[in-house]
């Protein structure tokens, strides 16, 4: 466990130290705030618009954070950093798990900052208390980072630097759409998680509470899916020659 945390802390430090990350968080807050100016254009629907915008931007931020690992792992493999680490007392599965945990922690911190900021802006703009479903929707969005991180680690381990992020974006996009294209069995019955399970924009906007049991189940499902995909990745990674 301590090995996994050693790798994980290196990974999240790496991301959380980049100044551009905080600039982007600030940009998201600004964009959320701007939504209040659309009162006329949306014929008075600027309140739901702001909630919607905050959730969409937070989801985009989550996928961007997750994507960073698809650059980091291939680079470490190519430059030989991975070789230095893997010749310590560190199993290959632990290396992958460390990367996944690290990216999740970084994602949690960044998305929690975005969520907190957006909700505060919402409350201040409309002088209104923040309702439970808004918290719940942001919370589930943050949980969706777990399965996404495992997808990114999967592609990052098996594909080179350019292919890995492109394939990850496509896979995340498909995974968000599995609810819509559920009748295409290859996608739905295949390896992709259904990220739509974490998407509760309408509940947040229309203040419909999400059952606590559902939240627990979907969180457990997300973790289980991530563990499954990590095992699969590690199965391939173990036989890979490392430069």
């Amino acid at each position: 466990m301590s090995e996994i945390m050693a790798i994980a802390s290196g990974t999240w430090k790496n991301i959380l130290r980049m100044k551009v990350v905080y600039f982007l968080i600030f940009c998201v807050w600004v964009l959320v705030g701007i939504a209040s100016m659309y009162e006329i254009l949306t014929i008075g629907h600027h309140k739901p618009l702001m909630m919607d915008v905050s959730l969409v931007l937070n989801a985009i931020a989550a996928s961007l954070v997750v994507l960073s690992v698809t650059f980091e792992i291939p680079r470490e493999l190519r430059q030989g950093v991975a070789a230095t680490l893997l010749t310590k007392s560190l199993g290959r599965t632990q290396y992958l798990a460390g990367k996944a945990v690290g990216i999740c922690v970084a994602g949690f911190v960044i998305c929690a900052l975005i969520a907190a900021g957006s909700l505060i802006i919402y409350a201040l703009t409309f002088s209104e208390a923040i309702a439970g479903p808004m918290f719940q929707a942001h919370f589930l969005l943050i949980i969706s980072i777990i399965p996404m991180a495992s997808m990114a680690v999967f592609f990052a381990t098996l594909f080179p630097e350019v292919a890995a992020p492109v394939l990850t974006i496509i896979a995340i996009w498909f995974a968000y759409s599995t609810g819509i294209i559920a009748n295409i069995p290859v996608v739905y019955g295949g390896l992709l998680p259904n990220l739509d399970l974490f998407n509760f924009k309408s509940h947040a906007v229309y203040l419909k509470p999400i059952p606590i049991l559902y939240m627990i189940l979907v969180t457990v499902w997300g973790i289980a899916y991530a563990l499954f995909l990590l095992m699969l990745t590690s199965f391939f990674f173990k036989v890979k020659d490392i430069k």
């Binding site: 790798i7 290196g10 790496n14 030989g80 680490l85 007392s89 199993g91």
Partner: protein, 315 residues
């Protein structure tokens, strides 16, 4: 405890891919045994297969045939890595971390207890003279500084076995001297065994007690340095100059190299004791003119001879 720190049996690696077969294996049935507490120089020209061997021993790549045992465990055993220090051929470390932070990650991976970790990291930074740069980002370091961090992370856990791939590359003459001292200290103070590849022959001759020579994936010879250089045991090299009295030796030598005006290098493969004592007497009488060197050739000519013999055989 195991008698050998590294043992390989018919170790073979071929870099085939599914669309292209390699023209020859990068490593072809390598059999070496490295005794405990020795400094073992692993020599060979570029592309000989040194890095390939080292990567197999460290579990980074998988051999296509044969066996390798490191510290009594299979090469891919994760636990035994705690007892090994490794310096890769082109050291690369997380560029965004500082030297201190990176070594701390390494120390944690090596399971150094948290109460001694900080102290040990500072200690090794001191040993490799990187203490002033401890807080700088690794991304800003020069080649030589990276090599220093590389050595630091390799000796962090006071390893029983050090595996170093071209450790002296990229260092200035001072650095090379310091590194040789660090390597020697590992053997003398901590009873470690050192296995290192190099093609800087003078350094190898200086610190190694055992060597092996690899060419095109095949092992040409292996053994204690002085035995190999004296051609099997009792060889003696004598440098003579000038004086007429010593000329008689020339006719008896097995090999004569004229080194300059009135200067010769004589090599006796298996001198009999009578001859030996005569040489000894002469060297006492004419200490300027006769100098005895234990062993035979210097490593450089031995290396070239072996490689060229092998290349000629294959053509």
């Amino acid at each position: 405890m195991e008698e050998y720190v590294i043992q390989t049996e018919d170790l073979t690696k071929s870099y085939d891919s599914w669309f292209k077969k390699a023209s020859r294996p990068a490593l072809n049935k390598l059999n070496i045994s490295i005794p405990k507490n020795c400094i073992f120089g692993f020599l060979g020209p570029n592309g000989a297969g040194k890095t390939t061997t080292i990567k197999i021993l460290m579990g980074l790549i998988r051999p296509t045939g044969g066996k390798a045992v490191v510290l009594g465990k299979p090469y891919d055993d994760v636990e035994s890595k705690n007892r090994i220090g490794f310096l890769p051929d082109s050291p690369a470390f997380t560029p965004t971390l500082s030297a201190l932070e990176f070594l701390d990650v390494c120390a944690r991976l090596l399971k150094i207890p948290s109460d001694t970790r900080k102290q040990r990291v500072e200690e090794v930074l001191e040993i490799v003279r990187m203490a002033p740069h401890a807080k700088s980002k690794i991304g800003t370091f020069s080649r030589g500084m990276l090599q220093r961090i590389g050595i630091a992370q390799a000796i962090l856990n006071k390893p029983d076995l050090l595996i170093l791939d071209e450790p002296l590359l990229g260092l200035d003459p001072y650095g090379r001297q310091e590194f040789k001292e660090i390597i020697l200290a590992q053997k003398q103070q901590f009873q470690a065994s050192v296995f290192f590849s190099s093609h800087i022959l003078s350094d190898v001759a200086e610190i190694c007690d055992n060597i092996s020579i690899l060419n095109k994936g095949k092992l040409l010879c292996a053994g204690p340095l002085d035995t190999l250089l004296s051609g099997g045991g009792e060889g003696v090299t004598v440098d003579i100059s000038g004086t007429v009295h010593v000329r008689e030796l020339i006719t008896e030598a097995d090999q004569v190299v004229k080194k300059g005006n009135e200067e010769w290098e004589l090599f006796f493969k298996k001198p009999e004791s009578a001859l030996l004592s005569r040489i000894n007497n002469l060297s006492e009488q004419f200490c300027d003119a006769v100098q005895i060197r234990k062993g035979g050739e210097d490593l450089e000519s031995f290396f070239f001879k072996k490689i060229e013999e092998d290349n000629a055989r294959n053509n």
